[in-house]
């Protein structure tokens, strides 16, 4: 068995050494002396100019600093609210609701401003588990978006004009609605608010159409055909020993990933004492985020999904598998055998929107006994309700002129409808069109009235994610703009003069339990009722025969296929206006600020002459090193899109994948405009449902486009020990591989020294003592799926700046926490992908930190609690520390990204050039309201990095002191830890032997390791090695590279003892 290779880029897998040389410099830019070429005297800026600059800058600095100190005012409240203390944060339970997604959250409010979103972790709750997603974390920034619509507007000619008051607006609408006649239609994304539903029901003559940007109507219709009604079940991944996904990205974007990741993780935690874990198979056409975490993946054409589903059903029933691809056939047989072995404890999910496929998947789930165990019909879910044919019918009615008034909330069909032009044309035939959307999106632009609704953090509201669970929203800030809840508009326009706020309260006060239950629900954020009976009907196989026949009749596709997917950051397109989300690197491609075509290695070779397996070193290195990526022209019928290509392993050879949500309208603002291309053009309607895949033809466009990817920004100089991955079989057979490695290191370092303490040995520097607390973190790589929620949470908590695409391209990205992606393959064939490892990487807070020794001004040093401190006001920007950091986690402020400099507007200057408009947007007074007042905003020229959320630790300690008690485990939690829905991150005081962090390190000895232990930097972050549940056996290697020669190691210290 050949050794597995762990690699981050093709340059590394093929030509490690030369590629490493190309990327090894932490800072590869020359010092920014303009025109400094040739000798000093000939230079354009010779010595005299230098002296002039020096003199001027000294004088300017003196002048700026010696100006009179401004008088500061301190303005107290006139009447201080009873329970508000300035400077102390309060947490309000509310609910993130967007396009049917429901996540219970807590909003952290500091002095009247919500500044951070936390998951709502409620004891004994079946729904509030405390996790969040990247989009949930970023939603607080949306509140302060300068591009939000601020008042009601009416279109006059080509432009919008403000309607001064809502009274006038209501009058105008009433008149026009009357004049318009016809039907009145409310078009929304999935609406799961009970009180709003009641308002809609009470609006006489109102027709309600629900439309989802990415539709699940195939699943809804299939469930109806199988006797469960037109609804979705609750999936319980925690009960599944075998999880099979047919193209469903359930850890990233499919239905309710926050909830699913939580359940899925239950089966993924493993240790040597109890070496069992769930088995996850993924069948898909491209490398999805969920596929990346699968134990075994099988690739097939997107058009083959139905065939795979049928084959699996046949195999489960002992029939023959009719698939020509031998590998796929073997895979299906293996999966079927596994599923049969764990009947009642397995689950098959499918991401297709094809009703027939979903009918077959229901039959599979029936065959493996999933209904009643892992699929729960007693709590039908309301995440998605849109039925594609309803929308088609609506468009037809609009075209026929039957629709008099169309009101739109939360839907954006002009952008994301499969036939957007047709919708836009039909919209023009409607006499009165009103949009309640928060931004001037593509659809709102085409409407006659814009009546913006407030952000969810400004609103009252409710949501009913599944039967028996009601989540509540409460406002956490007074509305920033003159917005009005769309429900109030509906109420007024239907002749009811109540405001939604009042209506909402009355509605819930009159529900069973009354005001007391409502208030309790508001306080908790949600209210739960006992399960309502055993379920909604039972399985019927009536539709199976028809579906099978239909699937068998599908024509085979031979050419290239495209499949559309969502990123965890942008989603269906709602994240596109959010700078944090645009700058969040995608889990698999690690690209920011763009969408692109994910392409397989064989296709790249054939189409672009880019051979990443056998090409020349230079060719491969250039593809990986330079941001210019080849552009292809993708054609489907008359639709044509040009996109750059990112090559990833593990793709089906003839399939490309494109993320939706990009290519947005100019009016959405500086963040969204001009980023990527709209991929919804490749979706199509097949008569029943919308399909997000299809046949395309590709051509090399012959040009290049810069894509800002981040994976090669920090390299480890081929130190592959940074990531550890094994298989379950190996873990069982060799549970001591990692402990043995450490023992070996201890021996090697102990050679010639008279102490046996590994920590004290082999260092020139004294040991840091921690008399009280010692903070430590542990990251379980088995529970990291690369979704990026932690990265966004870190941005929000620590005022991490957004730098824009141009700066990411120059390796100037500022994220304190990055998620490194490693492909695992055979050393010889990178395309035979065995798995992907996601490794969250932040400052390791080394006890023997290499950065501390090299700082000339001692701006980074060690604390008595084991934290590697970074003092911004002391830093003079030599960047020696970043250079000396083996993990490349230190970030340098190349420009004044945050407006913190003492010189005003010091952002654009010669050194960095012009910054992207998004940096300007983040420096807007409104946007800056999101900043955490407890964390310094860094100015230009200083290094910054992960601080273990020091402000949170200090706050936790102070709270304990206020209550006159010792610190309890769980008092102090970092932002990344609370953001994670899979509890991958554990943090606490390692000196407390009872703490979770101490327990997790001792109890999981066979998986616990520190990165680059051989450097003897003694990190305070430990990792649990990733375990793939396969039978592959990886033989342990000899420790021939155990002690690196250039470490200030035994060699230097040992002689002193002789």
């Amino acid at each position: 068995m050949s050794q597995n290779k762990y690699w981050q880029s093709f340059g590394e897998v093929k030509s490690g050494e030369s590629f490493r040389q190309q990327t090894q410099d932490e800072f590869r830019e020359e010092l920014p002396f303009e025109g400094f070429d040739g000798t000093l005297a000939d230079a354009k800026a010779p010595r005299r100019d230098f002296l002039k600059y020096l003199g001027f800058s000294t004088a300017a600095a003196t002048l700026a600093a010696s100006c009179e100190i401004p008088v500061k005012k301190v303005i107290p409240y006139a009447n201080k609210p009873e329970n508000l203390i300035p400077g102390v944060a309060q947490y309000y339970a509310t609910t993130y609701v967007q396009e049917g997604d429901v996540v219970p959250v807590l909003a952290k409010v500091r002095d009247g401003r919500p500044i951070k979103i936390e998951g709502n972790q409620l004891e004994n709750s079946s729904f509030a588990h405390g996790g969040t997603s990247a989009r949930v974390q970023a939603s607080v920034l949306d509140l302060y978006d300068q591009h939000r619509l601020r008042y009601p507007q009416q279109k006059k000619g080509d432009s919008f004009q403000e309607v001064p008051t809502y009274e006038q607006l209501d009058k105008l609408i009433a008149e026009q609605m009357k004049a318009a006649g016809g039907t009145t239609v409310l078009l929304t994304s999935t609406l799961n608010s009970p009180s709003t539903q009641a308002i809609v029901n009470g609006f006489v003559g109102l027709k309600h159409v629900q439309y989802d940007a990415v539709s699940y109507s195939g699943l809804l219709l299939a469930n109806e055909a199988c006797g469960f009604g037109r609804q979705l079940p609750s999936y319980d991944f925690s009960k599944a020993n075998v999880v099979v996904s047919l193209g469903a990205d359930f850890l990233g974007t499919w239905l309710s990933p926050v909830e699913f990741a939580k359940g899925y993780t239950v089966g993924r935690k493993v240790d040597a004492k109890n070496p069992t874990m769930s088995k996850h198979y993924q069948f898909e056409g491209y490398l999805s985020l969920t596929g990346a975490s699968a134990d075994e993946r099988f690739v097939h054409r997107p058009s083959q999904t139905g065939a795979v589903a049928l084959a699996l059903l046949a195999a489960l029933n002992g029939g023959a598998v009719a698939l020509s691809d031998a590998k796929l056939k073997a895979g299906v047989e293996k999966v079927a055998a596994d599923l049969n072995k764990s009947k009642g404890k397995s689950l098959v999910v499918c991401g297709s929107n094809d009703k027939n496929i979903q009918v077959v998947v229901n039959a599979i789930n029936q065959a493996i006994g999933a209904f009643g165990s892992t699929i729960d019909w007693s709590r039908p879910a309301n995440y998605r309700k849109g039925i594609d044919s309803d929308m088609t019918a609506l468009v037809e009615a609009m075209e026929a002129g039957q629709v008099g008034t169309l009101m739109i909330y939360g839907a954006n069909p002009v952008y994301n409808y499969h036939d957007a032009d047709r919708f836009a044309a039909a919209l023009k035939k409607v006499k009165l069109t009103v949009s309640f959307n928060e931004r001037m999106d593509e659809t709102t632009e085409q409407c006659m009235f814009s009546v913006p609704a407030p952000h969810y953090l400004e609103s009252w509201g409710d949501a009913n994610p599944k039967a028996g669970v009601t989540c509540f929203q409460q406002p956490t800030i007074h509305p920033l703009f003159k917005t009005r809840p769309f429900q109030t508009s509906l109420l007024k326009w239907s002749g009811n003069d109540t405001d939604y706020d009042v209506y909402f309260k009355n509605y819930w006060n009159n529900q069973p339990g009354g005001e007391a239950a409502f208030n309790e629900g508001l306080q908790n954020g949600l209210k739960e009722e006992a399960r309502a009976g055993s379920g909604a009907g039972s399985y019927s196989s009536a539709a199976l025969a028809g579906a099978t026949a239909a699937l068998n009749a599908y024509a085979a596709v031979n050419g290239t296929e495209v499949v559309l997917y969502q990123k965890t950051s942008i989603g269906t397109g709602t994240g596109a206006t959010n700078p944090w989300l645009q700058e969040l690197p995608d889990g698999v491609s690690k690209a920011t600020w763009d969408n692109y075509a994910l392409m397989s290695m064989p296709m790249a070779k054939e189409l672009l002459k880019l051979d990443l397996m056998h090409g020349t070193e230079k060719e491969i290195n250039n593809y990986e090193f330079y941001p210019q990526k080849p552009v292809v022209k993708i054609t489907m019928g008359k639709k044509e899109v040009e996109l750059p290509v990112i090559v990833v392993p593990g793709m089906q050879s003839n399939t490309i994948a494109i993320a939706v949500g990009y290519g947005r309208g100019e009016k959405l603002g500086k963040t969204a405009a001009g980023v990527g291309q709209n991929a919804y053009v490749f979706s199509s309607f097949d008569g029943t449902t919308v399909s997000y895949q299809g046949s395309v033809t590709l051509a090399d466009a012959g040009r290049k486009h810069k894509v800002a990817t981040t994976q090669i920004h920090g390299t480890y100089d081929d130190r592959t020990e940074v990531v550890r991955e094994t298989t379950l079989a190996t873990l069982v057979k060799y549970p001591n591989t990692i402990p043995d490695y450490r023992n070996h290191l201890e021996e090697a370092y102990g050679k010639g020294s008279d102490t046996t303490d590994f920590r004290k040995n082999a260092t020139l520097y004294g040991e840091h003592v921690q008399p009280g607390i010692k903070w430590g973190m542990n990251i379980d790589m088995n529970a990291c799926y690369g979704c990026g929620a932690c990265v966004v949470a870190c941005n929000a908590e620590n005022n991490v700046p957004v730098v824009g695409k141009s700066e990411v391209l120059r390796y100037h990205d500022m994220h304190w926490l990055r998620i490194d992606r490693y492909f695992v393959s055979d050393a010889t064939d990178p395309n035979q992908l065995k798995g992907v490892v996601f490794q969250p990487m932040m400052c390791q807070h080394c006890d023997n930190a290499p950065c501390e020794n090299v700082c000339p001004v001692a701006a980074t040093n060690h604390s008595a609690e084991g934290i590697n401190q970074m003092t911004y006001n002391r830093c003079i920007g030599t960047r020696y520390c970043a250079n000396n950091c083996p993990f490349k986690v230190r970030r340098f402020n190349w420009a004044d990204y945050t407006g913190a400099d003492s010189f005003p507007n010091n952002r654009d200057q010669q050194v960095v050039g012009k910054l992207d408009p998004v940096v300007e947007q983040m420096n807007d007074d409104l946007t800056r309201m999101v900043l955490n007042p407890d964390v310094t905003v860094r100015s230009r020229g200083v290094i910054e990095k992960c601080s273990f959320c020091f402000q949170r630790l200090q706050a936790a300690k102070l709270e304990a002191k206020k209550q006159n008690r010792p610190l309890a485990d769980g008092d102090a939690k970092t932002a990344c830890q609370t953001a994670c829905s899979a509890n991958a991150i554990v943090f606490g005081n390692v000196h407390d032997k009872e703490s979770e962090i101490a327990q997790v390190r001792t109890s999981n000895h066979s998986r616990s390791y520190y990165v680059l232990e051989q450097l003897h930097v003694l990190p305070n972050v430990s990792y649990l090695a990733k375990v793939r549940n396969t039978d592959e056996l990886i033989e342990p290697q000899a420790h021939h590279v155990a002690v690196e020669e250039h470490a200030p190691a035994a060699g230097e210290k040992a002689p002193a003892h002789h």
């Binding site: 107290p76 409240y77 009447n79 913190a900 310094t936």
Partner: protein, 421 residues
């Protein structure tokens, strides 16, 4: 035997009466009463005037209050007392709010408070304030300066005379000497003087640069002449009564207008205290300053019951103690967890009419305190914080005598990231 018994009993009686005498002597402790009154009662009650609650002058003549036990019962639990007492029900109806319960007040406390009230009810004429003495230091410096200057000039003249005499004697002896160089062209002198200027200049520049942005002795004029001396000094109002957030939060926070009005609904004139002067020596009319507060609060003294607190406007005070953005300071940590007195950093605030920044608020100043201040690790007996039980090693060292005390610096008080993050 009988005699003995009688004797013993007499002795006992004597002892008891002696004891009660001393205890009743203590019971008349006006000072203790004042402290209690200021701490607990003064926010609602005035001795002479009605406030949020009634004026307390002549308290003992009203209702059953001559019996201090009754009074104590009322103070300890007003709700329970009022339930069967029509007089206090009437009070609530009249003043519109229920009295706050002070369950910790003992009978002796009540005696003290009443003693203070009776004492304070006899209006005393305030003694005229003593004039301020002129500082002497500056004059001395001037005199010394003049003396040194005169001595310097004399020395210079003598040196000139000396060199002239020497030249004359040389000439008379026939020794040829070069033409005289005036002292200002003497290279030694020039070198000496430039060195002195360089050192002096460097010192001044460095000192000036370090002092940039520091505001020691900053004493801006505030929108209202608010005297801390009158409030916190003479009337002994607890700092935390107004700056309550210092107990909970990083900010000490300026009290909101409604907190001022708690007392000033009743106190609408400034009469008894010392005369007030601003920095220029101009006399301040205290009553007029209170009227300024009323303007902000929207309070009409002629019609106090119609006051609507929600119409109050905030007062724009000038912030005196400013820290740079990159410094994190938390009041609760110092005041509550660290038991640091407000005066340690803010100076004798009880003697200041207008507040002035006393401390330098420089990093060296902070650090010095962290170096020297001891942390109370003794949480068993002397009220140290139980949080510090985490520091097992230090507790062991204290027990074994290896350490005599734990200072703030020992638990990380000198680390950069304690204040900069």
């Amino acid at each position: 035997m009988i005699h003995q018994h009688v004797l013993q009993r007499r002795f006992l009686v004597l002892l008891l009466s002696l004891f009660s005498l001393t205890s009743s002597l203590f019971a008349q402790d006006i000072a203790a009463g004042k402290a209690l009154f200021m701490g607990k009662c003064a926010s609602c009650h005035n001795v002479l005037k009605d406030g949020t609650g009634p004026a307390l002058k002549g308290l003992e003549e009203r209702h059953k209050w001559a019996d201090h036990k009754e009074l104590q019962a009322w103070i300890n639990n007003p709700a329970a007392y009022m339930a069967k007492d029509p007089y206090t029900q009437g009070l609530k109806a009249k003043y519109g709010s229920m009295m706050t319960a002070f369950s910790e007040i003992t009978l002796a406390d009540v005696d003290n408070i009443v003693a203070y009230i009776n004492d304070a009810a006899i209006v005393k004429v305030a003694a005229p304030g003593a004039g301020t003495s002129e500082p002497q230091g500056d004059q001395n410096a001037v005199i010394f300066g003049i003396i040194s200057l005169v001595l310097g000039v004399i020395a210079l003249i003598l040196m000139q005379v000396n060199s002239n005499l020497k030249r004359l004697s040389d000439e008379s002896n026939g020794v040829k000497t070069p033409a005289p160089i005036p002292f200002f062209r003497n290279k030694t002198n020039i070198a000496l003087i430039s060195i002195v200027f360089f050192v002096l200049g460097g010192y001044m520049v460095a000192k000036g640069a370090i002092g940039m942005g520091r505001q020691k002795d900053y004493q801006p004029e505030q929108p209202i002449y608010y005297s801390h001396k009158v409030h916190a000094g003479i009337n002994q109002i607890n700092c935390l009564y107004c700056h309550g957030s210092a107990w909970e939060s990083k900010h000490a926070a300026i009290p909101s207008t409604n907190v001022c009005m708690n007392c000033h609904k009743a106190i609408n004139t400034y009469e008894k205290g010392p005369k007030l002067f601003d920095e220029e020596g101009k006399e301040i009319n205290g009553t007029a300053e209170i009227a300024k507060l009323y303007k902000y609060a929207g309070f009409d003294t002629s019609n106090p019951n119609q006051w609507d607190p929600s119409k109050a406007k905030p007062i724009e005070w000038v912030k005196i103690h400013n820290l740079p953005d990159h410094v994190y300071f938390n009041h609760a940590q110092h005041v509550r967890a660290g038991n640091v007195q407000c005066q340690s950093c803010h100076g004798e605030i009880t003697d200041m009419h207008e507040v002035k920044q006393v401390a330098e608020l420089s990093m060296g100043w902070c650090i010095n305190c962290h170096r020297e201040t001891k942390v109370n690790f003794n949480y068993d007996s002397t009220g140290g914080n139980k949080f510090y039980s985490l520091y097992e090693k230090f507790h062991d060292d204290l027990k074994s005598g290896k350490m005599d005390s734990v200072k703030v610096k020992d638990i990380g008080g000198l680390e950069c990231q304690k204040c900069h993050y």
